[in-house]
Structures are given as structure tokens and as C-alpha cells.
Symmetry: D2
Subunit: 347 residues, 4 copies
């Protein structure tokens, strides 16, 4: 059994990690931590765990937890993990960081977008960006996994297969993304008060969202050239789900089938990507509670534009599920272990 701990387990990502790890046949959860809830039972915060999981939060002593864990998930606010992870910790345990601290290889980008100083730049080279469908088995060679963001996972999976084709104008990318409200976490603010976001839609962080450089860096790597794109997130009155509607202009004629060939080639043997048949487009309801990313597309011949659309559950493939998938790769398990769940519908 893999001994797993969750540092910062009180938020929605931590909670979803515990749901998945609890159901994982090869995992034993050893510690959950919190800074403010030490001694409190987890099921007091999350009533779904009553009579199921009786762990209490322990203090956030990472060195100690590392000693007693084979893998440690960090679900901490941005900027915290980079001050806590040490070389000594990485020698004791694998670390899967759900936050942003180790995602951007270009630290100047990190510091510009996050307006903070990175506190452990020396660990960057020991870390890998854990987008499983892209890095695959290489992930197993690292001790520190930067688990990708939710918008970024959905956007990159939708666009990466297209980056090496000369048919696309890589300077024309527009990503218009829509997220459920769990993406904003459990912290209270007026924008996520029920009566303020229910029955309404809005864009936010317009041309300023921190997932932008992450998408750009990964797509640049995929393309072998620098990519800048426009990314606009929207808040949708629903609990879970991300839909990324991506637009990219064609420089050469492409049919649906041509694009399909790119996707099939890129995602063969990738169990969590489901490309949809011609004429079908993703809906977030079909992936809820699961680690799938559904992708559909259309070539608009009138405007020579490809519209490619991806959908994920932001808390699963966009966070906890991909964390578990990374863990599976790290420990040589089947990638789907503990994640072979039918999406729950209607929910």
C-alpha cells in the first residue's frame, strides 16, 4: 500500500483528493494537515465522510509527514509550497504539488504573474509539469510534480495536438473558458455568494488570469516556438466543470478528418482523453466526477477557423484526479487505478 498524505486538506481540492485516495485500492491515507483546523475531524468539515473517514487534521509539519509518507500531496495557496518544500523532504517522499509554485519553468513569468518571489528556485530542475498525457512515463523520473491547473489542463489537452502542424496560425489562438464555481474554492467572498453568482454569467480576470502563462509555456514547448494567446475565464452558475472553447485560424485547408488524425495520433493509448465523433461536442455533464477530458471540434470553412472544445471536471482531471494519475505513474501503477469511475449523471 502506498502511504499518502494530504497537506492542506481542508479545501475543495484536498477534499476531492481524499475521496479518490480513499477509494484507491493501493493507497492508505496516513495524514491530513491543516494550519487552522488541527485536531478537528475531517468529517466535521465535510459531512459526506461521516462514518467513512475519521482522520483528524494534524499540524503541517512537512518533514515529519514526509518521513511517514510515500507520497505527499500539497493543496496550498499559491506561494506557500515553494517556501515549504526542501531537498530533504524530496529525499524522503514524492511530492505532488497541486498549486502553481512549480508549474512555470520561467521563474520571471511566475514572479510577474503571481507578484511574489519564488522561495525554492533550486528545486525547479527536480520538478516536472505533470500533465500526464503529455509527459507520460517521464514523470516517474521526478520527485516533485507540479500538478497542472484546471483551466490549463483543459486548454492544453485541447490544443497541444495541433501545435506541430503547419496548418494552424499559432498567433491567432483565442481560448474562451467557462468554469463552475468550485474553481473558486471554499473561501468566502461576495462573488461566490449564492445569490450573487447564481443565475448569472460573467467574465473575470479578463486578459489577466494566472493560468495564461502556464498554457503559453506548455503550448510553446509543444509547438517548438513561443506562443502568446488570449485567454478569458468565465464563471458559470454550476458547481463543477470546465469547458474551453478554443479558436485557431487555419493557414491551410483542413478537414474534420485531418484534425482527427492529429488527435488520434497524439492521444493513442491515453485512457482519459475521449475524442468525440464528427458533429458531437463536449458537455461538462458527461465528465463529472471523473478524470476524463472530452474533446470535439469543427472546421468552419466560412472563416477558415478551427473551433476545438474541451471539457473536464475541474476538481478531478483539473486537480485531484490528475494528482492521483501522477501518483499512479510515479509508483508504476496502471494509470487508471482508482480512477476508473463512470462519470456521475445527472448530478
Amino acid at each position: 500500500m502506498i502511504k499518502a498524505s494530504v497537506v492542506g486538506a481542508s479545501g475543495y481540492v484536498g477534499q476531492e483528493l481524499i475521496r479518490l485516495l480513499w477509494g484507491h485500492p493501493q493507497v492508505e491515507i496516513v495524514h491530513i494537515t491543516s494550519t487552522s483546523k488541527v485536531g478537528e475531524a475531517f468529517h466535521h468539515m465535510y459531512g459526506n465522510y461521516k462514518d467513512i473517514f475519521d482522520k483528524e487534521f494534524v499540524p503541517q509539519d512537512l518533514e515529519k509527514i514526509a518521513e511517514e509518507s510515500d507520497v505527499m500531496f500539497l493543496a496550498l495557496p499559491h506561494g506557500v509550497a515553494s517556501g515549504l518544500v526542501t531537498d530533504s523532504i524530496l529525499k524522503k517522499t514524492k511530492v505532488i504539488d497541486m498549486g502553481a509554485d512549480y508549474r512555470l519553468k520561467d521563474l520571471s513569468e511566475y514572479e510577474a504573474w503571481y507578484k511574489t518571489t519564488h522561495e525554492s528556485p533550486e528545486l525547479m530542475e527536480k520538478s516536472i509539469y505533470g500533465l500526464c498525457e503529455i509527459e507520460g512515463p517521464k514523470i516517474a523520473e521526478y520527485d516533485l510534480i507540479a500538478n497542472p491547473g484546471c483551466y490549463t489542463t483543459c486548454s492544453i489537452l485541447t490544443l497541444a495536438p495541433l501545435m506541430r502542424s503547419s496548418a494552424f496560425d499559432l498567433d491567432s489562438i483565442v481560448i474562451d473558458a467557462k468554469s463552475g464555481v468550485t474553481g473558486a474554492g471554499r473561501g468566502l467572498n461576495l462573488g461566490t455568494h449564492f445569490t450573487e453568482c447564481n443565475e448569472s454569467i460573467k467574465a473575470y480576470s479578463v486578459a489577466a488570469h494566472r493560468h495564461t502563462p502556464e498554457i503559453e509555456e506548455q503550448l510553446s514547448t509543444a509547438a517548438g516556438r513561443s506562443i502568446r494567446l488570449i485567454f478569458t475565464p468565465h464563471l458559470v452558475p454550476m458547481n463543477r466543470g470546465i469547458l474551453a472553447t478554443c479558436y485557431i485560424r487555419l493557414k491551410e485547408k483542413m478537414t474534420w478528418e485531418d484534425v482527427d488524425a492529429l488527435y488520434q495520433d497524439f492521444y493513442k493509448d491515453k485512457p482519459f482523453v475521449r475524442t468525440l465523433p464528427k458533429g458531437s461536442f463536449p458537455e461538462t455533464k458527461w465528465v463529472k466526477g471523473s478524470n476524463y477530458c472530452d474533446i470535439g471540434w469543427k472546421v468552419d470553412e466560412r472563416t477558415n477557423t478551427l473551433v476545438a472544445i474541451g471539457a473536464i471536471d475541474n476538481l478531478v482531471k483539473g486537480a485531484a484526479g490528475q494528482g492521483v494519475q501522477n501518483m499512479n505513474i510515479l509508483f508504476g501503477l496502471k494509470e487508471t487505478e482508482g480512477l476508473d469511475l463512470v462519470p456521475v449523471f445527472p448530478v
Copy 2:
């Protein structure tokens, strides 16, 4: 492996059965049927199953399916099952009927409330009302299980433990129940059109809902005397969940602890009933996607009334989950096999 078939698999209950059976370690799904969708792939109707489950609907030939199945779930409109199940079928396979046809032992009640003639009254004695927490191992002695209704499961589990106590006025019971919209199924009608039921609440079938006699019959059995009660269902703008707020007058003084003793006694060793601590009350969100029934209560000393509240997921404990639980009992498996899922939150 238990060979299971789902007859009438195209509705929400059928779909949820397939989700749970697919994930059940001891089950192989052999057939799914439909009258109108024969030859169509299940995942065309339910996109969540893409790349997961590739069965197609076969015709509704029950004798043939019975031969090839160890257990056959019927998810059919009321009145259909009683015309299809035969003694010959019951000799070949176990039948778990998700519908109402075999629930009411008093056939005159059945025919009065359902305004139809029961077509196989001779099978009633071979059937049992499959409320697992009440009938327990006795269920294994039967070939035909009448799986309880959603409102009824929630109401009976909340009230049954009180029925043998002299402290309660059994003529005073009021059940005010609230259900999510999946309870109305996948069939189209104006009342469940999004813009007609979203952002609104209403009562329906006031003093006329067909689950009333089912609750009364079971509670009468539990009480050892005839019970009549008032039951009012409401439609709540959410996908899943039932909350039953039950009122019963006290004839004798009872404390929270006295009531607790009744519940603990009744539900000891019942893994799917969770009684909440003093001061806590159920919320449907904590049971979603799971087979749990959460129960909380308060004694109102001002009015000498017990308010007891139960919550379930209507598609799981209120339908498919209890069906699987019945199957587990029938085949001597652990009652929780395939049902040991953490409720999904927030979803």
C-alpha cells in the same frame, strides 16, 4: 461473477444501475434492454459512458434474458412488470423490480392508487419488499424483490424505528418531502422543462401521491397496527436528493437521547444509515452519489413534537443503489460491495 441484466435501461434509474453494476467487482453486465432503442449503443444516450461501456440495447425478451442472467433488474413504467414476470422467469433468475408493481401487499390498495389491474397477483407471495435495513437477510429467501420507491425509502427509514414506541401518537404523522428533479425521470413534460422548474418550488400530487400507501403499509407492519398519514411531495430545483421532514406528536416526554436510543437499536450494524449527532440535521449534498441515508431529529418541547429528518440520493438509496444492495443480499455478498463510495461533493 454475477451475470446481471437491466430491463428498461434507458431511463435514469437504468442508467444509475449500470453505473453501479459496472463498478461492482463481482458483476458482469450481460444485457440491457429497451423497447424503442434496440440496436442503439447505450453511450449514445448517455455520453458519460463513451469509451467505457459499449453495450447496445437488445429486445425486451425476458425469458431469454432470464436464461442468460443470474439477476435481472426491471426498470419499467408502473404496471408493465406485473404483466411480464412469470413463474418460469423466476425459476431461471432472480428479479429485482425497481417499479411499484410488487410493492403493495394489499392489491386493492395497488389497484386503487395505480388505477390498473395487477396482472400477476399469484406472484405476490414469492415477492418481498426489499427495504434492506428492515428485511435484512430474509430478502435472500425470495426470488422477486420489490425494490422500494425513493420517497418511501427515505420516509420509512426515518420513521420505522419509532413505530414500536408508545411515546408517539401514530395518528399524527405528517411527512413533508422534497425531491430533486431526477425523481421525475427523463421523459419530457412542461413541469420539468428547465425554465419552468428552475428557481421555483412547488408541492405536487398533494394528498394523492402513490408512495403514500407504500409508506403506510410498511409503517403499519412496523407498528403492528394500521397507520394513515399525510404525505406531501415537493419539487426542488436540483438534480438529485430527497429530504423527508417528518412530524410526529409525542404522547409521552421524550428527550433527544431517548429517540437516539431507538435509532441506535434499530440501525446497529446497518452500514448505510448514518444518524447525526445532536444539533445536526441532514442535507442532501452529503449523500449525493452514495447509498447512505442520513437521519437527524429534534424534540420540540414547546409543542411536544418530534421532527425527524431523513436525506437520501433518490437515484441511489432511493433506487439503483438499494437495488444493488438487494442483489448483494440475494447473492450472499457483503451488503456494501460495489457501494462503498464516498458521496461526491460539491456536485
Copy 3:
């Protein structure tokens, strides 16, 4: 033009008052106050008012505001108004208090349920409980109007017409009420965080809600005897609306028509109460944005119980609309002035 001011205009009730007063043909809004937002434009808090209403919040100086206003609405937290209203203020202006401080004539009940001391008991005799359909023109004789609560308005309007009939067992009343989330106000807490209350239903303040004594006091007056009842509020995932499902046992046989006669007699010439035809029941969607209270009922002959159901918009008839209706009565206007709006649907 009536000069109206709103004290405590930053919450949802204040906002709804401003919507209605702004559209009222006989009203000019002179001041809006807040303790924490002085100097801020109202439309910065509520974007719907952009380019429509450009007032800024002024300090909460009630004596000054009273001098410059014909009527002053107080939308303050419970316990605050009783410390601010003075005899001097009441000589200068009419006061309509949207809060609870002057609602309960029995101050010991007030102090017991609100756990606070009433700071102006001497003003109670100058105040009236402003449930317009019950007090009618008598309201115009008072300077201080205690505007009823939301649950209470809906519950009392549904039950009051029955109180003088000997056919009902007045000791058997159960009110099971359901409210949208605006009832909880704009203040942040976990229970009204979108992802915590969306897609779920729960009871709260079970046998402990402060609207209970208010309903009891008014129904006792209507009945001419003391009434105790059980009241359970529930939180429904929708913005607006209250539905009160009321149960009362029959001591004598009553038909639908008998009950109808009681309602018609009680509500003749009451423009805001709509009794529904036999077989119809209220839905909150049909009253949204309006001052209507819809009422429907059924006699359950099986259990000798009347189920009577009322529906209102909690922010209109349950708060701001009734406030304006009280103002209309105070100033001798038509009761419907400024309130003759078609309910908005679907919204």
C-alpha cells in the same frame, strides 16, 4: 411627492425597497444610509442601478433624516432599530421598520427569542404589526409600522382565515416552509456560499426559528386564543421565493368549497391575495418580483387534514413590497400604487 428615505439600504431588503420606491409614481427617494458605506454610490454596490440612480450613502443620522423625510424605512439588523427610534423621530416622520424589533407585542417573547433587551418598550403602543391584509386601514393611525417577516407573512396569510372556524384543531398546526437564499441576506457565510447550498436542500433552525413566535402571536389574535405551532424553515437552492406548506387537522368535515368560502370572505377586496382554483397549488415562480401571495389547498379526507399552501416573493410581499404597501396605506394612496407589476417569468 412623498419624500422617502431608506436607513440601512445596503442589504437585499434595502435594495429591493429602492427598486420599488424608484418606480413608485408618488415617491421621491431623498436619503439612503449605511454605517460602513458612507460616500459610496449605491450603484457601485448594485450594478443594476448604473445610469439609473446615483445617490450616495449618507451617515445614519436618524433625527436629521426624519426631518427631511415623510417616511423612513429601517432595514437594520435585529436589535438595532429599537435603540434608534425615538418619540421625537416619530413626531417628524412615519417609520416603517423592516426588522423584528416592534413585531412581537409580548416583549418577553421578543427578549427570549432574540436574546436581547428591547430598548424602546414605550414605543410599542405606538406601533402596529403591518400585515396589510389583516390590519388594513387601521395601519394609517400609527406612526411606527412593524413590517412583518417573510416566513410569517406567507404563513399567516395562509392560515389566518381558518382561525375563527371551529372545524380546525388549532393545536395541530404544522408549517413546513421553504425559502430561497436571498432570505439569508448578503452577508457572507459558508451556508450560503454557492457551492455549499447549490444543488442541496436542508432544514435549519429546526423548532428554533425566530419567526415562530411572530406567527403564533398573530394567529393567536386571529383565533382569539393562544396558539402554539411547529414551524420548520428549509433552504432551497434558488434566489427568491417562499413556499409555506401548512397542515391542520379537521375536527369537522370540510369540503374544498367550505374552505374556499372562508378564504373568499377573509380576502375579498384584497388585491394581493390570489386564491387558486380547486386542484391548483402555488408555485413560487408565479409571484416572483411581485407583491402577490398565492394560496391553494386540499382537504385530505383520508386523514382529515387540510393542506394549505402559500407562496410569496420573500423580498417583495415578504419585505420591501409589503413595506411599500404599508406606506401606501399610511399616505392614503391606493394600496397597489407602485406595486401593480406583473410577476416576472421565467426569471
Copy 4:
């Protein structure tokens, strides 16, 4: 008083017309028609009108209704109006067509996108595209007004002011639009069944929506050159509201203030367009129930892209409200007459 009739009053647009016309101080509603509901009271279909509006549906005899009406609104399925409107009708009454039949001046586009033959091409020259902020007083010169579509109104209002500037690359326009479910009407289908669209988001009619040529034709006129653009509608789980997120590349440097100047110039003295201050972006909740269009924008200097976002209530400014605004213009009334409503919030 203007005598107004609504032909095809049983759908959501018809219903919203009646709400607005009923509250309009200069209007008397004379007839409402339906093909299938003749003789039925309107308030039986829409309970919000109980005790308010007691008209019954009359047969759809347009010649007769035209004789008795000053203005006739047509809220009919696409393709029907062009077969019903005649020269004779237009001599008797003004016609405001809420449908698509007279919107596209290029009939080959109409017939290509709507896959039907236009039955009254000779009336096209008597008709005008009634986007009030663009055509203004010219509308009064016409007898047949083609009331714009919902997506189109929002998209055109957001983009039209930019069309004459050389700073924008007019070949780069992407419109990613999101609509509430009322946009799909009251007709039943699986996609708008509550449990199928609640808690999910999807794109639909990708690169194939019929509002595309309408937006293109109008923007082409505004630009003085032909424009092709990509338009993607999405279905959002909410009742009302449209948000159009528009992307357009810059060929020259533009600041927020430069863009602001274009909007202010274009929309001066237009009471229903509200441009938001720098850093603010529209939310559909702030326009609900009203005729406003809110617009906000940001220049993304990283990618030289303008993101301009518009929000309307699809049933008001996107349909019935604009219809009434057109009527006001036709009859020489103030444009805001009957439309000066504060948006309702939270609803």
C-alpha cells in the same frame, strides 16, 4: 392609447411582450392569438397573470386583428410570418416581427441559413432591421419592423461602434456567446429538460447558428465592407441572460480610453446602452428584467487584442423589450416609455 395585439402569444417572447405592454402607460392590449390555444385564458398558461390579465387567445386571423390594432407584434416560428404578412395588413397596422423572416436583407442568405423559401420578398423594401440604437428615428418611416435576434442584438451593440475604426482587423472577429435557457423557448426537448442542462455547459450549433449571417450583415453595413466572423453560442444553466465575449485583433495601438471614445460617440443619448468604467465587465445579473445592454472591454497589450463584452436580458433587449422600444419609436413616444424599469436583483 395605442391598440396592440400579439400574434403567437403563447411562447416566452409573447409572454414577455404582454408583461411589458400591460405595464406600458400608453398601450391597451386588444388581442392575443394562438393557433392551438384558442379560447383558453392566457393566465391558464402563465399563472403569473392570474387576477391581472384575463384575455383569451383568439384565432390567428391577421387581417381582422390588423383592422382592430394600431400595432401587431408577431411572435411566430421562423418562416411563418413571411407567409402571413401582406401589403393589405401593412396598410392597416404597423407590424413588429419578432422572428427572423425580415431580418436578412440578402434573401439568398436567408434561404441558405433557414433552408426555406421566403414567401413575401416584395415586402423586404418596406421593412427595416429594428436595432433601435443603430437605426433610431428612421424606424418610424417603416411599417414592418424586423425585430433583431437576441444573440445578434448583444453582439452587434458590442461591436458596431468599432467597425469604422481602422485600428481593428475586421477579419479577426470571434464572438463567443452564452445564453440562458429561455432562449430555447417553451417547447420541450431533451436538451432543455431540467436534469439534462442543469449543472452543465455546452456549445451548440457550432459554426452553424442562424444568428451568424444577421450579425455579419449588420456589421458589414456598419463597417462599409463585407465581414465574416466566427460565432459560437453556448447554453448556460440559468433562465435569462446573454453574454457575448467578442475578440478583435488590433492593427494599431489602442488604449482603453481610445475605445471608450468610440463607444461614447456611438452611444451618446442612447438610454439603454450602459458602458462600464475601466476595469468593470458586464454580468447578466445586472440587466435582468430590463432593456439595458451593458458593455465593458479591455485591451490586451500582450496579444494586441480587444476583448469587448456585452450583456443583455435575452427576453427583453433581446426580444420583447426591443419590440416595445421599436413601438415607442414608431408612435413618437419617448424611447424609454414603459421600459424604465430597474433590473431586478437578485432574481
